[in-house]
Symmetry: C2
Subunit: 325 residues, 2 copies
């Protein structure tokens, strides 16, 4: 049991040295008790928190530059799913002795790049000592014009089910890292380590409901089904896969649909809004064009998900991820 005062003295210089360069105006130099943040006029705030534990959510030997960015991007993805704009973030860093200062430096350098990319800044933080694995917790605050936040609730029977990007790359990347699958380009591993949050996706006026796919397409679609009391009908051959995911072979297809860590957006779109999407196949964000694909439709029925294969047979899933739906 270390004494609080001893701890804080070290904490002070540690924070100042590595984190102060990330701090924005609201953080008051990370020296005050709290950050002061003026919300943009007429906006609601959207707030989310996500944590990661070493050897549970990332590997000890993952590049430190990617770890903080992955956590930040998972949170950014939550905000993107609600159609909101990120403003700032707070970090809790529970540091075990094996995390060196050099490691922390690379960790913060990675985050600094994403801060610039997504135009956000650190508002506050806390660093702690732990004898266990590294634990990170990141709180992200965003803004959205009042009443424009897209939620999980709002879908109606007949609405189309759409996804951004491609599905399953991160799940296969984890398999590659575990040595269960071979892929030499590094694409799949990159997608596992560095999600691409769909920040700035113009969901308001388009989607009736949305969420970000973190637990796996089938499970997260199940969340939407439950929330809206509808049955989701998906067609397997419409689900967009990357070239490396296709090349991995059909035996990995179910992994793609249940594996998680996609951080793509699952959007529900009413029929009258679908035509434009069908035509272009893209949505614009400040970070480039995002491909969108219609993978199914919500119908009246039991709140669950059915995925039909190319023979029109419902696929059977056995992962625990799926079981609780």
């Amino acid at each position: 049991m270390s004494h609080h005062v001893t701890h804080c003295s070290k904490e002070f210089s540690f924070i100042q040295h590595y984190f102060s360069s990330l701090a924005g105006e609201a953080a008051l130099g990370l020296r005050d008790d709290a950050a002061i943040f003026t919300p943009p006029e007429g906006q609601e705030l959207v707030v989310t928190v996500d944590g990661m534990v070493e050897n549970v959510h990332f590997f000890s030997d993952d590049p430190p530059e990617t770890i903080g960015r992955k956590l930040l991007r998972c949170n950014l993805s939550d905000l993107a799913a609600m159609g909101s704009k990120p403003e700032g973030w707070l970090l809790t860093f529970a540091r075990p002795p094996h995390i060196t200062e050099a490691w922390v430096q690379r960790f913060t350098e990675g985050i600094a790049r994403d801060q610039e990319k997504f135009q956000i800044s650190l508002m506050g933080g806390d660093t702690l000592s732990t004898s266990g694995p590294l634990v990170l917790s990141l709180t992200l605050i965003g803004s959205v014009p009042r009443g424009q936040a897209i939620q999980r609730k709002g879908a109606r029977a007949g609405d189309g089910i759409w996804v951004t990007g491609t599905i399953g790359d991160a799940a296969l990347g984890l398999k590659v890292l575990r040595g269960e699958l071979e892929e030499t380009s590094g694409w799949l591993i990159d997608r596992y380590r560095m999600p691409c949050p769909r920040v700035g996706l113009p969901l308001f006026g388009l989607a009736s409901a949305a969420l970000d796919i973190s637990d796996g397409l089938v499970q997260d679609c199940g969340h939407l089904a439950h929330e809206n009391g509808l049955h989701a009908v998906l067609e397997a051959d419409r689900i967009p896969l990357s070239l490396p995911a296709k090349q991995a072979g059909a035996q990995w297809f179910k992994t793609c649909l249940t594996g998680g860590d996609d951080y793509e957006i699952l959007m529900v779109v009413p029929p009258q809004k679908e035509k434009v999407l069908e035509k272009s196949g893209f949505l614009q964000t400040p970070y480039g064009t995002v491909p969108v694909t219609r993978i199914g439709v919500f119908v009246e029925g039991a709140p669950a998900v059915t995925v039909y294969d190319t023979q029109g047979t419902p696929m059977v899933f056995t992962t625990t991820g799926w079981s609780h739906i």
Copy 2:
């Protein structure tokens, strides 16, 4: 390395069962990607985060009811020091296998009592598995009328230095828990386990600067000294001690001044505002009257703290807490 999907399935029911009763309107039933929060009109937001690690910031056998409340109250104290009103909070809960569901239930029951007392609610959270000690991270969001947040900066030479309540009880409580000091009433241990944040202290229009005492009176006063480029002169015999702290004996006095975990407010008050305070000796909050005591004054000079004992001799402190100032 456990797989993300497996983890999330368990997480889902865990959250629903124990945390949903704490969730407010903004949390959207803890089922959406993020909380939606409408900041009160004309207000700035004040945001803080604090973490705790088992066996560093609390003992494994501390009553679970007190642990979450202590973390919440530490954050409430940060907001109180800025004169802001708490609105809502988010929690990351990194759970080791030895934390049972019964433990979590008692943990949330404790927090529920404080939610009611301080009129706040849970906005969101994340639960994780860890092989290490329990790690908690709590983000607290508050509001304050625009421009009225009190900061560490703002003190001038001649301003008086004031504290709320009594100093050193929690530090001595830790000594009692460690078996280094005897105190049978339980008062000191209670003060260690359950800080009394000075929520609602009317600082605006009164204090030129303030912070909450978490690292120890001398060290935190040093933070104020540094931030304002002033020298703090404190008089030892003015520093308010509780009866149990006095009864512990003079040999524990330095522990009281450097020990930390007080969560009292250190306020800097310009001379023209001091008269009313001197007269009453109290400030009113929605949670009752809070005793306030003048313990010294800021003067021109090196940014540091001198505490004069009753003989007029500067006291010497050797803790690491003090060393970095």
